[in-house]
Symmetry: C2
Subunit: 485 residues, 2 copies
């Protein structure tokens, strides 16, 4: 199951090793840049050192959601009397979940994606790409030249902290956590961000005894606080031992085939004790894959994130030729936002090559980035949190509503627990942020994204009537609460 | 579980039998009118002849969704390998579903709603209301007078066709279909509209052998055709015998405690045979509850729908005092749209009573009415269908996308089957209609409602990025399809 754009047949192919556009990295972001430039008639090559389809298709979005969905669906059935009895004491079939995950990753084979590249007229060059000065890319013994642009879309990789013993303890990163073939009896997860919270939910659902360790007070520290608190509660209800304020000071795994011991610091200087697990996942942040990209050949720092303008042109490089889209520019480490940038970068490259005005800029990166965390329960947010709005000096008011009090949610599940918040700019009476937390809350988000991007006023939102009895009726309750607050 | 607005404590009560505002009908619509006028400081009485909370709370939206949700939740679990095995051959527990339905209707008792009226300072008068000239309402032996306004919100009731034998066959209407205490072995459903399609899905899920008879070619004839076709397929997959082009010419039930026989006409003049069932539901349309409302005393026709302006003032009545909100004005027979009208009517009554300008009109009734049909699969629509846009002479283009091809839908359920359509006004490049059909498609709708009401342009919608991998990514696919079509 791949993630790529629709496409049409086009002519393509190289002219020696000179191309109109060279794209580095064939994840969804690189694929989308190439699709746009190729569709515009530019001869486009794409370079990939691993699997075409990228992190998202094989070791991130897709397999993680394939691991998470079955537990969520089963929990949803258990939450409704009548269906609950049908499930009875039936348990999730972990082998079936893993097999389905394998089919979504095509068994970590990229044939389907390679075929699509061909049909889109994009030339695939396998190997590691290295910039070698302006418009030049070396791949193995080939030196490619770009007439118009090079777009780097190498993505990011797990960043491991410097902890004694960690290097020898073969820890899981997001890659192993999404591709593991067996369910560990005991899994320690270090880090309460998106990867940590999602993988704790997934593997607990699959039967692991999971311990989630995080330095901060709650999971998902960049989200609204209530979201992290609800996730802590949801994970605990699924059997996860959630331990805030805890860090790992040492890792011991004397026998590589045996269990791993984590030495913990409980944060107040006290002894946090030890934790023994069968596997340990370190989900402690991401680093750009720019260490071996040859950035030094164009005056940039190897290993750094790349700063770009709103057409995705890299800052600090002479000429109008080097673009960077996706995780590597550190604007938003999210597949969909990278694809958004890719569409804009591809169109900008084509427009500049053909002497047309650039049709659009990546303006949404600045104020309307959506994110759905498919943990237990789901958390969906877009735009500014209350804290971020405050830090930005905005004049705003935020209102909350208990999602479980909405008829549609109560009908959906007994004991539905969730919360919604909108952040309203009081100068313009428009939404600047929204967060929804609860079972299936992810699909509630797009309404808020459209409201923010479209700058739909509160006055107008009163005329956007939510259908009764859907969970979306929370919009009416939020407006009422805003009016009365 | 009631459906009403949040409220605050207010003083209230009558002044003899003279009130500022008299509301007739204490369903969600009447409750919302009264809440608004009472909140504005107007002394408000509400008259109800049955249960406070109305059709929606006891015999429509709420119990129907309580009957439908458990099957949907169980089907959703069965659609995901891993969860599927947990369900195994477990069957829906119909008794548990019916018991949960009973709790959502509070056992058909209105104590909770009555208590809310009191806390909102609204006086409840039990009995049948009849207009007796301008600003006068008779209830039993009391004659009430309204200083400012009378708002009639009596709702609608099932309309039975004139078919020989039907009157003696004690057919189910929407009331019996949502409140029945037992699951009939064989249920015949006459009518393929919303009530028929929903109740066929609900009772088939609960174990009835359901036959759905409709005159037209497909269920939900006012929706996009593909929606009706998908519902016909979904109902068939749930075991419903869907029979288009079929009408009932006679009903026989010689023994009131025995089975009922329907004589059918297959539409081509041929003999449609007979159908024997244990119960028969006639879901063949609605009639306004205005037959005994005393309309003749103010120059209107008893039994007619009432025509209103955008402040919900009834046309053809002298003075500015008679309002009609909800089903009775025939604008949109939907609880949420009636509540929308109620908010506007209540505010308009208060504004006129207090010499302020009317703050808002019910403009969304004309172009942005959302509807979710919780059948199998769900159908959600807002604004114009392609056919309605054509009839209205709009210059438009519509594009479709297969929901099952969206990664988020494929992850959600194996074999996810659904379809989305947007209708785009080509003069202004804004949405004027949208339909989503598929499992859980109902929650996708509000994004489209906001886009239509906010007149968000297609150009702007490209910057409203759907989160990956949600089902909402269909928005990106629809925009791409629109661009390329």
């Amino acid at each position: 199951m791949s993630d790529r754009d629709s496409h049409t047949e086009r002519g393509g192919g190289g002219d020696g090793d000179t191309w109109d556009v060279i794209v580095v990295g064939a994840g969804p972001v690189g694929e989308n840049v190439a699709d746009r430039t190729s569709a515009a008639g530019l001869r486009t090559a794409i370079v990939e050192r691993e699997l075409v389809g990228g992190e998202c298709s094989y070791w991130a979005c897709i397999p993680s959601k394939a691991l998470l969905r079955p537990s969520a669906a089963l929990d949803a059935a258990r939450a409704v009397p009548g269906a609950r009895e049908a499930v009875g004491d039936g348990r999730l079939d972990a082998a079936a979940v893993l097999a389905r995950r394998d089919s979504f990753t095509s068994g970590w084979r990229d044939d389907g994606q390679v075929e699509w590249l061909g049909s889109a007229g994009i030339e695939l060059i396998r190997g590691e790409a290295r910039l070698a000065g302006p418009r030049r890319v070396v791949v193995g013994d080939r030196t490619l030249t770009a007439r118009h642009a090079v777009a780097v879309c190498p993505g990011s990789e797990a960043r491991l902290p410097s902890i004694p013993g960690l290097a020898d303890a073969r820890p899981w990163t997001s890659r192993e956590a999404t591709s593991a073939k067996d369910v560990p009896g005991r899994l320690a997860v270090v880090g309460g961000g998106v990867v940590g919270a999602e993988m704790a939910a997934a593997w607990a659902g699959l039967g692991s005894k999971v311990t989630l360790l995080m330095r901060g007070e709650r999971p998902l520290p960049r989200m609204e606080r209530f979201a992290g608190d609800l996730v802590a509660g949801g994970l605990t209800a699924r059997g996860v031992d959630v331990r805030p304020g805890t860090s790992v000071t040492e890792v011991r795994r004397p026998d590589p085939a045996g269990p791993v011991t984590l030495i913990l610091d409980s944060g107040d200087g006290g002894d946090g004790g030890e934790l023994v697990a069968d596997e340990v996942l370190f989900a402690t942040g991401r680093a750009p894959r720019t260490g071996t990209l040859g950035l030094e050949s164009v005056g940039l720092e190897p290993g750094s994130w790349l700063t770009v303008d709103d057409t995705l042109l890299v800052d600090g490089v002479d000429g109008t030729w080097l673009y960077a889209a996706g995780d590597v520019n550190h604007r938003a480490l999210l597949t969909h936002q990278g694809k958004y940038q890719a569409r804009i970068a591809g169109d900008a490259i084509a427009a500049r090559a053909q002497g047309r005005p650039v049709p659009a800029t990546a303006r949404a990166d600045a104020f309307a980035v959506p994110q759905v965390v498919f943990t237990e329960p789901e958390v969906a947010s877009v735009g500014l949190t209350a804290e971020a709005a405050k830090a930005a000096g905005r004049r705003f008011r935020c209102v909350d509503y208990d999602l479980g009090s909405v008829s549609g949610a109560a009908l959906r599940a007994d004991g539905y627990t969730g919360r919604a918040r909108i952040v309203v700019d009081e100068d313009h009476e428009v939404l600047i942020g929204a967060t929804f937390t609860g079972p299936d809350a992810g699909e509630l988000l797009h309404a808020a994204t459209i409201a923010i991007v479209g700058e739909v006023t509160i006055d107008d939102l009163w005329h956007a009537v939510p259908a009764f009895p859907t969970v979306n009726e929370v919009w009416l309750r939020l407006l009422e609460t805003y009016r009365d607050s």
